[in-house]
């Protein structure tokens, strides 16, 4: 049993700059995948969440199906689906990054839609009635009254989901995208020091996710001085967005 931490000292730049941040010849990158994925996934999630809340059956049921379908299937399966389907539909091979991004947006949108739904439902019904009574249309009510309040309530769950997505991006390495996990794989195959290598990236992942979860706790207290933080945690668990 002997450790060789020199491997990490020699390769940390490749791991962090290329793997984590995504600057380098290979493209990809954990953060460069995670950030667009959460933004686009959230936008799609709002649409699906609103559809699910609709009282029209032909809008409501497809959204329910979408959410239940993607929540019942492993993410790896979804990534393989897009890996296979995109060349079939577009007729050309796309880079691993684009395939992974598409898969993550579509998959995460199902989970984000549930967060959006819980957030919208957390806005008291009276607000909608008041807005309607005040003469606002459905779109205006949503845009100016409900969503601003709902998004504020969603932020802790959204950060939690972002942490989950950040961890999930490691699966992009399965189709060969150069992220932190793939970078560690590459180095560890060359240097034959898997123990040190995987422990090192575990710590890097942990630093990122842990600081995000602290940020989330801080924001929760910061944004709602009127409510005790413990109460908010209970609310979050009740709405289904348990901590990652």
């Amino acid at each position: 049993m002997s450790f060789d931490w020199g491997t990490i000292a020699n390769n940390w730049q490749f791991l962090i700059v290329q793997g984590l941040l995504g600057f380098g010849a290979f493209g990809g990158g954990t953060l460069r995948l995670a950030i667009p994925a959460i933004v686009l996934g959230f936008l799609l999630g709002i649409v699906i969440g609103l559809c699910r809340l609709s009282s029209r059956g032909w809008v409501h049921y497809p959204a329910v199906f979408y959410v239940e379908f993607f929540r019942g299937v492993p993410l790896v399966m979804v990534i393989f689906w897009f890996w296979f389907l995109i060349p079939q539909i577009t007729g050309q091979r796309l880079p691993e990054y684009s395939v992974a991004l598409t898969a993550f947006v579509v998959f995460e949108a199902a989970y984000l839609a549930e967060i959006v739904r819980a957030g919208i439902q957390s806005v008291p019904r009276g607000q909608v009635e008041a807005a309607t009574a005040g003469g606002l249309s459905y779109g205006q009510t949503m845009l100016y009254v409900v969503l601003p309040q709902a998004i504020r309530n969603m932020i802790p769950s959204l950060i939690t989901q972002f942490i989950v997505l950040f961890k999930d991006t490691s699966l992009a390495s399965i189709i060969g995208m150069m992220d932190l996990t793939k970078a560690a794989q590459t180095v560890s195959q060359r240097e034959i020091r898997p123990f040190e290598m995987y422990l090192f990236i575990a710590v890097v992942y942990w630093i990122c996710t842990y600081s995000m979860s602290r940020l989330s706790q801080w924001l929760e207290v910061k944004m709602s001085p009127e409510r005790a933080p413990t109460k908010r945690v209970a609310l979050r668990q009740a709405t289904g967005a348990a901590s990652a």
Partner: protein, 249 residues
Amino acid sequence: MPLAGFLGMQYDFQWSVLWTGGHGEWLIQGIWTTIQLSVLGWILAGLLGILAGALRTVPFAPLRALAVFYVEFFRNVPLLVWLFFWYFGVPQMLPRAAQDWLNNHGPEFWSAVVGLSVYHGARMSEVIRAGIQSIPKTLLEASVATGLSVAQAYRLIILPIALRLIVPPATNESLNLLKNSSLALTIGVAELTFMSRQIETYTAKAFEALTAGTLIYLAMCVGISAIMGQVERHFRIPGLIVRAGRAEH
């Protein structure tokens, strides 16, 4: 069965690849491995979760710190990294004899079991902790005040409520474990996703192979959550427990 023009693409559907040429057996073996992996992982994760949860309440700071470290470190790092760590990293650090034993007993499967259960044990302990914390202390005090012994209060009041609170999120977490067992394909465990991919490789029929895998996962997840939904409804206390939404994967 040629079916041109699906989403504008030319694709020959051949659903028979799923049951001819021994591929049906592959799928069944894959399902069986997935079940073995998930059930073993689930039992160990449950034990680790309870252990870590219990350690966080003992009046001895180093043990509490150990439990906090375990939970916070293991659940905040991707499972895939843990699988690589347990499969590629740990064996080289073991004594020679242990390495030999492992190599003779399918290192892929056991690494996957350890990886899954350690990761999900950390998450499970959070589920259990949240459930216990949501029971007010006054409930125990009130039970004792009405003349129950502490043991009776736990058996008749606290546990029946705690279990009802924990079962829904624990069901989600169990489904997450089932879905996450698919990552074991990366270290060469021949579970369901691995077998679907293998059929795809051998027959070049990706659509059929992926459909089979997807539908089987979907059936398992929907089936389990339907059964657990029934259980929850059967045992619910009116006005006390709201059906909680599902946690993230």
